[in-house]
Each structure stands twice: as structure tokens, then as C-alpha cells.
């Protein structure tokens, strides 16, 4: 029983940063902007979060710093692509490269230092209930944030007028502009939100997952988050499903490798990617729904004519 609970807990821990980063990117892409810099913003969040936590001794200040660093770093992308209308793909890729390099440089003095870890939720009497207590009331705070964030984004996108406006900009920025919607302002806010989420996801890595700083510790999670958004056809609950499938198969294959199952380890390592893609492709077979949810102006620079 304990083993099952522990496995479930590790799955949640593995899925949480993917979910947060992907939900942030989903909002960005719904506004019609493709930010390929998720990996870079995540690693900057990780180093910023670790640094602030290490220097102040408070993991909470670390988490806050991770969010702020991610948001500030995305602001760079926003200025380039939205105000200066640069190519979004190229700018996003450079943001990732810059983030990886810059974080390595900032983090040199942090390597090998003991970090601080965000404590798990502990409600006396409740968190100690077997199974349920640990799973529902005993996880790290970021886990709860990730679930609340997903629900909030779903509600925002599909239940609020502002969310509708954001989706309309993603569908056609020229139509939105013709109606007098402030396309650029909405996109700035979306990109910064995405950056804050990626930063938070990075903070989770260096303050919860493995509370230390290792260069390149995001290890491609930003890219997985990006892929999740596309394969989930830009729908929040599917991102959640995708993140957890990925996390589950990831943990599963680690255990399988540890047990020495006679399957090439390379195949096992690729399983999470394969499984996630297969499942998400299967659930997005409905062409019409996919068409409705794909932001048609994704990646196109917008220059209002005045």
C-alpha cells in the first residue's frame, strides 16, 4: 500500500512542473503567440528560485523569485515579438538558448550548495490518514497551485468575457483589431503570464523536486510542455491528462528499469513520449473540435496599420 502511495506521489511531483509550464504556454498560444522559450524561462526560474531561497533561507521567497524571474525573462520575448514584431520562432529559440547559458553562468556559485525545500502540506490529524491523507492533504504546495491554476485557466478561457476576447485574438488578430480590441496589450499580458508559469515550474524543480542547483536541470521539460499544449489541442483538461500520463509512464519506466526488465533501456526511456503522444492523438480525433480549438493566427506577427 505504501509503495503505491509513494509511486502516486512521485508521479504527481513529476507531472506538476510540466502541467504548470504547459498551462502557461496554453494561454500564450491561445492569444496567438508561439513562445518556444519555455525551456529557457523555466531554467531561469529554477536558478532564480534556488538563488533567492539559498540566500534568504526562505523557500517561499525562492518560489516568488522564480515567478518574477520567469515573468521578467518573458518580457524580453514580448518586447521583441510584440513591439518589434520579430519572428516568434527565432526569438523563442534564442530565449531558450539565452536562458540555458545565462542560468549556467548565474548558477556557478550555487553548484553543490545545499538548497531549501518547500515543506509538504501537513494538516495535523488529516494528512496522516492512510492513503487519502497523504495524496490529497500531504503534497507540496506547488501541486495544489498547479491544480487550481488549471481550473482557473479553464474557467477564465471559457467562462469569462476577457477569456473569450483572448481566444478571439488567437483566432484572428486582424478581426480583433478591427473591433477595437487591444491586441498587443492582451498578448503582452498573456506572454508574461506564460513566463510567470514557466518560472514557477522551474522553481518547483529547484525548490521541491530536487532542492539543489544543477546546470541544465530543466532537462527538456520545457519542450515537453510545449508539445503537450499542441497534442492537447489547446485544451486545459487535456494538458492536465497529458502531463499526468507523461509523469506516470516516466515513473513507471524508471521502476521498470530498476527491476531489470529485459527491454532495451532506450525504449523504456522513450516510452513516456510515445505514450503521451498516442493518448493525446487518440483523444483529439474529432477534427471539428480540433479546428475550433486551434488558434488560427498562432505564430503570425501582428503589425496594426494606422
Amino acid at each position: 500500500m505504501d509503495i503505491t502511495v509513494n509511486i502516486l506521489l512521485t508521479i504527481a511531483t513529476a507531472a506538476t512542473p510540466l502541467l504548470i509550464a504547459a498551462i502557461g504556454e496554453l494561454v500564450v498560444e491561445r492569444s496567438g503567440v508561439l513562445n518556444l522559450g519555455v525551456e529557457g524561462m523555466m531554467i531561469m526560474g529554477a536558478v532564480g528560485g534556488f538563488g533567492a531561497g539559498y540566500l534568504t533561507g526562505s523557500p517561499w521567497i525562492g518560489l516568488l523569485a522564480a515567478i518574477i524571474v520567469g515573468a521578467l525573462f518573458s518580457l524580453l520575448f514580448a518586447v521583441m515579438t510584440l513591439s518589434l514584431a520579430t519572428n516568434q520562432v527565432a526569438t523563442g529559440l534564442s530565449l531558450t538558448l539565452l536562458g540555458l547559458g545565462l542560468s549556467g553562468m548565474i548558477g556557478t556559485s550555487f553548484v553543490g550548495q545545499p538548497g531549501v525545500r518547500l515543506p509538504n502540506l501537513d494538516i495535523p490529524g488529516v494528512s496522516s490518514i492512510p492513503v487519502v491523507g497523504k495524496l490529497i492533504f500531504g503534497q507540496d504546495p506547488v501541486f495544489y497551485i498547479s491544480i487550481a491554476l488549471t481550473a482557473a485557466v479553464m474557467w477564465f478561457l471559457f467562462r469569462t468575457r476577457t477569456g473569450l476576447t483572448l481566444r478571439s485574438i488567437g483566432d484572428s488578430h486582424t478581426s480583433a483589431h478591427a473591433l477595437g480590441i487591444k491586441v498587443i496589450r492582451y498578448r503582452y499580458l498573456a506572454v508574461i503570464f506564460g513566463g510567470a508559469c514557466a518560472g514557477l515550474a522551474g522553481g518547483h524543480l529547484s525548490l521541491v523536486y530536487t532542492p539543489q542547483w544543477v546546470e541544465n536541470m530543466s532537462a527538456g521539460r520545457g519542450w515537453i510542455a510545449l508539445a503537450l499544449v499542441v497534442f492537447a489541442s489547446w485544451r486545459p483538461w487535456r494538458v492536465l491528462a497529458g502531463a499526468y500520463i507523461f509523469g506516470a509512464v516516466w515513473i513507471g519506466q524508471l521502476h521498470a528499469q530498476a527491476f531489470g526488465i529485459p527491454v532495451p533501456s532506450q525504449f523504456l526511456s522513450s516510452l513516456p513520449y510515445l505514450a503521451t503522444i498516442v493518448v493525446l492523438v487518440l483523444i483529439s480525433r474529432n477534427k471539428r473540435l480540433t479546428m475550433m480549438n486551434t488558434p488560427a493566427s498562432l505564430g503570425q506577427p501582428f503589425v496594426p496599420d494606422r
Binding site: 468575457r161 473569450l164 476576447t165 481566444r167 478571439s168 483566432d171 484572428s172 486582424t174 478581426s175 480583433a176 483589431h177 478591427a178 473591433l179 477595437g180 480590441i181 471539428r288 479546428m291 475550433m292 480549438n293 486551434t294 488560427a296 496599420d305 494606422r306
Partner: protein, 525 residues
């Protein structure tokens, strides 16, 4: 408004525009425009493509900023800095290129332009009620992507009316409508006028302007060339004001010896299953176009014309290679490039994104469609593009078709619709194709440009090519065809020689009556 003293800004005019000017680079799109719109009138804004009509209304709606000039609303000077400001004043707009979001429902589209916080369901109910009261039935829950252009326009109009505007701007509203849909629109406009609202009606269709407009302002090359009462003018006199010279009527010399001329385009038993849930299947289509003749295909939009064009042009190749034959050889299995190499040329319906790549220069668009057929002159050794040859060819087409533009080699998207269409048709004509297939040759194109395109198509046919024209505009088909066939629900009637064709006969076939379908119905039985 006879007898009003021209005290500077009398309140009998809802909108007054004084000296409004907009400059793009070296092009003065609007040059000191003056315009008065009275309360409760339908005011026409006439002009050729590129005359500055769209630029002017974009300034009135706040989507463009004027370089100079003044706007008076209700006698007060106003600055319309954004569409939001225009809406607050009471100006509503129905766009030429619809500003709708395809992935959203009708109700969501309407909600986006209303700045109140009322829930979607309330807006949907209001829209439904309003649409029925104006006789423009609308299902607020339908997805815009699934709707026909006529239905989309209804959404735009309802959206505009829900803002209870005093002035409604309609930019070329009938260019996408069938005659019946247009009649419905005119009824709505007359009702709005009776309610005391003002309408600024942009069009180049002179007959409808004469029919519904109370006054008119005519633009040419960005300048006002006259104000008039269209009811006292003739279509010819209005056209003269717009174009600045007599519009040449299209001349069609009688085609001779067609019966014995070689068949250059043959379509034999063309059948196609629907590719998407919304597509129309093609049912056993037969048609022969001979050297020297123009065949027109009429039909209400969405009866399979798009699918037919795709199959004949090779955008979608057929299983049966013999179903499309060009110059006596099977072409059904070939791609569009293969068919071009056999001497065919194609002009699709959508100019932007289909006929031309919007963000590429005209010369680049020329190379894209003719790199294979003109490989020798455009592409040098080692596959290098001869830029100067392509550029010169583009300039040759621009001169031949009188394409008006703001730069020597602008992006396709920078041209007005009519001018881009002239370029696209000119690009294909320049090759002197032996088979030319055109879908909606003058959609949204003004009288002068349309006459030029039609004349060019007739001349191409008379010089020995086969020309097939698909159009929703019956006047156009009667002007240029030697015979007219009608497409209805994926079936094509036998072509009716122009001497026997009347509007009534063609109209009946468009509605699905059977006379011309005799052959098919026998086969199908």
C-alpha cells in the same frame, strides 16, 4: 436637405467630414475629402477600386488615423481615435472582408463587439429576437466557420444593429450575396432608414445604388469628384463620374465555326465524393469547351462550384485520368503544375491566400505560379532565379492590366482587391494559355476593371483559346459567354447557347428546375 443655410456645421447633418486626408508612403489614398451625411438617408460612396473608399471609412470607424482633416458628429468636432470611440458615438460598421472569428459561435462573435458584461445567453436571445424582427433569421449557437457568406453577413449586421448605431457603414455588402439575399438586405436597409438611421453605403454596383440610395459622393483617385442624386443619374453617367471617362461596354464578336473547332477542354463523367462533411459531391459532370468560345457556369454559391474548380484545375487530382482532358490528352490524374504544362491556366476564387500569397511581392507571386511553365525565362542554370526577368515580366503585366499600386513591386496584400485581381488574371493571360479557367473573375471588382478583365477573356477566346468562367454574377455571364451552363447541387446542366438563354431560364435552373438536366435524370433513373 434643400434650402439649409450653409452655416458651418448645421445639425441637420449627422456626420460632416472636412478635408480628411490620409497618406501612405507616396500614395495619397484620401485627398481632402468632404462628405455630408444627413439623418435618415442612405448615402452612397462610389468609386473604383483604389479610389480611397475603404480608407475613408476606416478613418470614420477609427481603425485608421487621418493625417489631417476634421470630422463633425452631430455638429460637434470629434476625434475618432479607435473603433471603440466610433461605437460610443453611434457609428457601426459592416466590413467588406468580414471581421468575424471562425472558431467562435455567432453569439460569441456578437458578444465580442458589445462592451457590456451581459452573459452570452442573454446576448444570444437578444440577437435571435432582433434577427427575426428584421427578417434575417440567425442561429446564435452556430459556429461561424460552418456558415455561408450570406449568413455571416447577417451576423455582422445584427452585431452592428445591437449597438443601436445612428450611422451604419456598409462596405460592399452585396458583393458576396445572391440576388435574393441582396433583396433581403435592401428591405432591411429601407426599414432602418424609416427608423431614422443614416447609412453610408459603399458599392460599385450602380443599379443598386440607383435603387436604394438618396444621395451619393463619388471618389476618384482619392479625391471627391462629385456629389449627386443617384436617382436622377443613369448608370452610365455614374460610371463616367467614377472612372473619369466613358466605360467601354464589353464587345463580343460572334463566335464563328465553333462547332468544328477542336475541343480543348473536355470533362467526361466527372464525379467526386465530398472531401469534408460540408462539401458538395460532384455528380457525373460533362462539358466540352472548344477553341474560340467562352462557356459560363452559373449557380448560387455553394452548389459545388468550388469543388468543380478544384477538380478541373488539378488542386485535387482525380482517380479517373480521362475525366478531365486538356487539348485531347488525359489530364485527370495530373497536378496543377502538370495541367499548366499542357497549356491550361487557372484563376481561383480567393485572391488572398489562394490566387496569391499575401505577404509576398507581386513578382514573387508571378514566379510561384509560372516557375514550371516559364522555366526557361525565369530560372537560369543551376536553378537560380533570374530576378530581373521575373521583375520585368511582373511590370509588363502591371502595365498591361493597369494595376494601381503604391510601390514598384508591392506585397500582394498591399493591393486593393480589384487591382490584385487584375494582376492575377493578367499573370495567367500573359502566358497566352490555350485553356483558361476562371472562378469569379470580377468578384468585388469595380466597373472599369471588370470590363477590362471581361474584354481580355473574350479576346483570349477569340484568338483561339477555350475559356471557362464560373461566376455568381449573371450580368457578367450574359456579357461574356457564348453559352451558359448551370450548376445546382453538384450537377451541371447542358450549356444553353446565349441566343436562347434568358435570365428567367437560367434563374429556374439555378433554383434546381430540371429542363437542362434531362440527360442526367435519365441516366440516374
Amino acid at each position: 436637405m434643400g434650402g439649409t443655410v450653409s452655416a458651418n456645421h448645421d445639425r441637420s447633418n449627422l456626420l460632416e467630414v472636412r478635408g480628411l486626408t490620409k497618406i501612405f508612403g507616396t500614395l495619397t489614398a484620401c485627398d481632402h475629402i468632404d462628405l455630408n451625411i444627413a439623418r435618415g438617408e442612405i448615402h452612397a460612396l462610389l468609386g473604383e477600386n483604389g479610389a480611397g473608399k475603404s480608407t475613408l471609412v476606416k478613418m470614420l470607424f477609427g481603425s485608421l488615423e487621418p493625417n489631417s482633416g476634421e470630422i463633425f458628429w452631430d455638429g460637434k468636432a470629434v476625434k475618432i481615435t479607435s473603433p471603440g470611440v466610433a461605437k460610443k458615438l453611434g457609428i457601426g460598421m459592416v466590413f467588406q472582408h468580414f471581421s468575424l472569428f471562425e472558431a467562435l459561435t455567432a453569439a460569441e462573435n456578437i458578444a465580442l463587439s458589445l462592451n457590456d458584461g451581459s452573459p452570452i445567453s442573454t446576448i444570444a436571445a437578444k440577437a435571435r429576437a432582433l434577427s427575426f424582427s428584421y427578417g434575417l433569421p440567425l442561429d446564435p449557437d452556430s459556429l461561424v466557420g460552418d456558415l455561408s457568406v450570406g449568413e455571416r453577413q447577417r451576423i455582422e449586421i445584427i452585431r452592428c444593429l445591437l449597438q443601436t448605431p445612428q450611422l451604419i457603414i456598409l462596405d460592399e455588402p452585396t458583393s458576396v450575396l445572391t440576388p435574393q439575399e441582396a433583396d433581403k438586405l435592401f428591405e432591411t436597409l429601407e426599414r432602418l432608414r424609416a427608423e431614422g438611421k443614416s447609412i453610408l453605403y459603399i458599392s460599385h454596383r450602380l443599379e443598386e445604388v440607383k435603387r436604394i440610395c438618396d444621395s451619393a459622393t463619388v471618389l476618384r483617385h482619392g479625391k471627391v469628384v462629385g456629389h449627386c442624386n443617384p436617382r436622377q443619374e443613369t448608370a452610365a453617367s455614374l460610371a463616367r463620374m467614377m472612372v473619369g471617362s466613358e466605360v467601354k461596354a464589353v464587345e463580343r464578336a460572334p463566335a464563328e465555326g465553333i462547332e468544328t473547332a477542336p475541343a480543348l477542354l473536355e470533362i467526361r463523367g466527372l464525379t467526386r465524393k465530398p472531401a469534408t462533411p460540408f462539401a458538395i459531391p460532384l455528380k457525373n459532370i460533362n462539358l466540352t469547351v472548344r477553341a474560340g468560345e467562352v462557356i459560363g457556369i452559373a449557380g448560387v454559391a455553394g452548389n459545388g462550384q468550388g469543388e468543380f474548380f478544384e477538380s478541373v484545375s488539378g488542386e485535387v487530382p482525380q482517380q479517373d485520368a480521362g475525366s478531365v482532358r486538356i487539348r485531347g490528352k488525359d489530364a485527370g490524374a495530373l497536378s496543377i503544375t502538370g495541367r499548366r504544362l499542357m497549356g491550361a491556366a487557372f484563376v481561383p476564387e480567393e485572391r488572398l491566400g489562394h490566387g496569391a500569397a499575401p505577404r509576398m511581392k507581386l513578382s514573387e507571386n508571378l514566379l510561384l505560379s509560372r516557375h514550371a511553365t516559364d522555366g526557361k525565362s525565369f530560372v537560369g542554370s543551376g536553378g537560380m532565379v533570374k530576378n530581373s526577368a521575373v521583375y520585368n515580366a511582373a511590370q509588363r503585366i502591371i502595365t498591361a492590366m493597369d494595376v494601381r499600386k503604391s510601390a514598384p513591386d508591392p506585397e500582394a496584400a498591399a493591393l486593393s482587391g480589384g487591382n490584385l485581381q487584375k494582376f492575377i488574371v493578367g499573370r495567367e493571360l500573359d502566358r497566352k494559355p490555350s485553356v483558361m479557367i476562371v472562378n469569379q473573375p470580377t468578384w468585388g471588382v469595380d466597373a472599369g476593371a471588370a470590363a477590362r478583365i471581361r474584354q481580355a477573356l473574350i479576346e483570349l477566346a477569340r484568338s483561339g483559346s477555350a475559356v471557362l468562367v464560373i461566376s455568381q454574377d449573371l450580368d457578367e455571364l450574359f456579357e461574356l459567354s457564348d453559352a451558359i451552363a448551370v450548376m445546382h447541387n453538384g450537377e451541371l446542366s447542358a450549356p444553353l447557347p446565349i441566343a436562347e438563354a434568358t435570365f428567367e431560364k437560367i434563374g429556374l435552373l439555378m433554383g434546381g428546375a430540371e429542363p437542362g438536366h434531362a440527360e442526367h435524370s435519365l441516366e440516374m433513373a
